[in-house]
Amino acid sequence: MHRRFFLQAASAGLLASMGGTRLAFATTPGDKRFVFIFLRGGLDGLHALAPVGDPRYAQLRPNLALEASQTVSLDGYFGLHPALSGLAPLFEANEMAFIPAASTRYRNRSHFDGQNMLENGSGRPFGARDGWLNRAILGLNEGDRRLGLALGPSVPLVLRGSADIQTYAHSPLPEVDDDFLARLGNLYRNDPVFAQAFRAAQGAADPAMAGMIDGPLANQDFAVSARVAAEYLVRDDGPRIAVMEMQGWDTHIGQLGRLNRLLSGLSQGITDLRAGLGDAWQNTVVVVASEFGRTAAENGNYGTDHGTGGLAMVAGGAVSGGQIAGDWPGLSARSLFEGRDVAALNDCESIFKAVLIGHLGLDEGYVERVVFPDSQTSGPMHGLIRT
């Protein structure tokens, strides 16, 4: 089946083909850009940025651990997953930093609560109905300009609130990610009518295996989003803050192939952003985060389960890169949180605060009071933004 082929067609001159979308452009915005990439499902930080210098790593993950020789060594201890090798030049150019052992203040393991925490900024899963980034936009220009851009069919919680947000979705019905389809296949297994139609739609693959197949269509939405985001952000009168999402990171089963594909999509998206932003890249910060990390040890299904400390990434010309930032607890049995997860020593809130205050120039008092209330213990991370 050849579905959604117009995506390829749309890649040439995206703006030109978007005659139907009505985006309002601000007249005199500042030149700082911020892109937040939300990896939903819980990124396995130990697989993306592997602590290959720690002998415990291979012990915890006999089947999943990357060999040091497979990775791109960053500092002799951490090695970058080969699918992320496209990011190594950014690291070399001091335009990219990695923050392992990162998480919100959330310490349980529910996706729903964890994502709410990462997005509402209140410190409680249901502590606010709007998103911290929307409140930040209100502080930047009192919300009268559409500074925020959501790429995707809907505005994610992190951008929801009283400040108006622009949205861009490149197709009326975006494709559903492979991970979702794989899960759905399980629901259809015992209903022949649905199972048969579903199998046929997948090109005769076993529905349960759909997530494991290296399909070229996976995360095409993300690739298009990255190019579109760059085209909008680069404009003098365009939005200044964009949020992109990637689904499918909840890798309980057979994670090697899936992460390979997801990470390479992520890497491509970031390098596309850089290319598309041109000179504006110098005034840009991109933050990549997930609601939590995964267990330090692998499970019995060649996957990993919900954990705590994960991995955040920061990229952009305005980033003080070339460093593994924040603290690292190591993988010794004693240092693992509750005996199973990487301890979360670095708060995502600290990263966001550094961007809001140090990069976008938002008033620190406003950030503490309104954007991330009750979070004084997580001060802005130092040395992350180029000054």
Partner: protein, 453 residues
């Protein structure tokens, strides 16, 4: 949701579970359905700003009397101002309805008496046709429903009867002299026999079709001008004696003497109480409420009620609701695309559906109202609706729609509220493991349990 019977009441007989429905049903799901069978169904007040069908049509006919271009323009304007807004209102009413069985029976009969928008000139009036002709009669006598439908200009134009004329009628003879002897159109007569009453194999012949077409020749409307300078008087039914074939006609062995307009009424009354009609209607009802393959016993039972009550649809419908087979397998049927979209919106509760929320999925899922591909209407079996691409579109739309639902919806609770009693272990498991709340909601919408009824 309390039990399987509640699920059946809300989905098979209703239009999907909405917040608060459980309280309405209380402990008597079947009683809740039966109580919705009322002799008089009122047209909702939300339609009060809409025009009546004969006003819509008169406006169009009047414009067309001026020029073809003016007629086309008037049709376009009326389509925008009446057709589309009516469909939004119609969907919103069903989404909010406390008597969804009434909505379902309206859809059933509207589909049985399909008029589609392929004939542009009457298209703007089709929603009005449904609410003026179908809605008030869904629990009335079948004969009255049939006659009202066949006399409506929408049906008369859709199935080409408005300008059908008997070969021996005054105008028909004039046509023949001008070298156009084939003025009799059999379409409406054929479809009434095949689709609306007796059904395929109902025992009629081609000769019956021709006779019946002659009987209803002259059944037309106020917008048909056949003499220059004649003015459009109204947009409703009009019997044109000049088109009507004179003389006696024989249909299904009974001869009807020449009696003008009344001939058609008499034939329709006879067709409405014919055993083949009883069986045809019973089969469709049982297919809709029991299984794609309607069990013989249930069909017999309903057909008998139909005959015994002279087609009293309140009694017939009551008997359908009381069929044991209708309460046996809760997942026997698949929701059509329209039912699916409405059910998703109903479950979402307080979200007010925009026109785009309604129109886009209906277009993408292939069931925009009043666009059925043929007079046969939309199919009513799983095979019609669960094809590969169609299923993927449902999944994609559900996935996107779920992302817009309020984060206050708790997936496990939502699951219990909409499909709880019939949800498989797999649904519980995978909803519980979903990577985000909106993915969990989308899994619920995409589950076979939600898509079935």
């Amino acid at each position: 949701m309390r039990d399987i019977a509640s699920f059946i009441a809300l989905n098979r007989f209703g239009m999907g579970a909405a917040p608060g429905d459980a309280a309405l049903i209380a402990t008597d799901p079947q009683g809740w359905v039966l109580n919705q069978i009322m002799p008089e169904i009122r047209v909702p007040r939300l339609y009060r700003t809409r025009q009546r069908s004969d006003d819509i049509l008169r406006g169009i006919y009047e414009a067309r009397a001026e020029s073809r271009e003016a007629g086309s323009e008037a049709t376009r304007v009326a389509y925008r101002s009446e057709f589309n807004p009516s469909l939004v209102t119609r969907a919103r009413l069903t989404i909010a309805s406390n008597t969804p069985f009434v909505d379902r029976m309206t859809l059933f009969w509207s589909n049985h008496f399909t008029v589609s928008n392929t004939r542009r000139i009457i298209a703007p009036a089709i929603p009005a046709y449904e609410r003026e002709v179908i809605v008030p009669r869904i629990f009335g006598r079948f004969a009255d429903l049939l006659k009202a439908v066949v006399r409506h200009p929408c049906m008369l134009v859709y199935l080409d009867n408005a300008t059908s004329m008997g070969p021996a009628s005054r105008v028909g003879r004039a046509q023949a002299r001008r070298g156009n002897p084939h003025a009799l159109n059999e379409n409406l007569a054929r479809e009434i026999l095949e689709l609306h009453t007796l059904g395929v194999g109902g025992g009629y012949t081609q000769a019956d079709i021709v006779s019946f077409a002659k009987v209803i020749s002259g059944w037309s409307h106020g917008g048909v001008r056949y003499r220059p300078g004649e003015h459009v008087v109204h947009g409703g039914f009009e019997f044109r004696r000049d088109f009507h074939e004179p003389g006696p006609k024989t249909i299904l062995g009974r001869t009807y003497d020449e009696n003008g307009e009344q001939e058609g009424i008499d034939v329709l009354d006879d067709l409405a109480r014919h055993p083949a009609t009883a069986r045809h209607i019973a089969t469709k009802l049982v297919r809709h409420f029991v299984a794609d393959d309607p069990p013989e016993g249930a069909v017999d039972q309903i057909a008998r009620v139909f005959l015994d009550t002279d087609g009293d649809l309140a009694e017939v419908t009551r008997a359908v609701v009381q069929l044991n087979q209708a309460w046996a397998d809760p997942l026997a049927k698949v929701k059509t695309a329209y039912e699916f979209v409405i059910a998703v919106h109903r479950s979402a509760g307080r979200i007010r559906a925009t026109r785009q929320d309604i129109f886009q999925p209906l277009r993408l899922l292939g069931q925009f109202p009043f666009t059925a591909p043929s007079p046969q209407g939309w199919g009513d079996t799983a095979a019609h609706w669960i094809a590969p691409e169609a299923l993927m579109r449902r999944v994609e739309w559900a996935r996107r729609f779920s992302a817009r639902l309020p984060s206050s919806l708790v997936p496990q609770q939502f699951l219990d509220d909409v499909i709880g009693p019939v949800a498989s272990d797999a649904v519980h498991t995978w909803v519980g493991r979903a990577p985000s709340p909106d993915a969990a909601l989308a899994l619920i919408f995409a589950s076979p349990e939600f898509q079935r009824r």
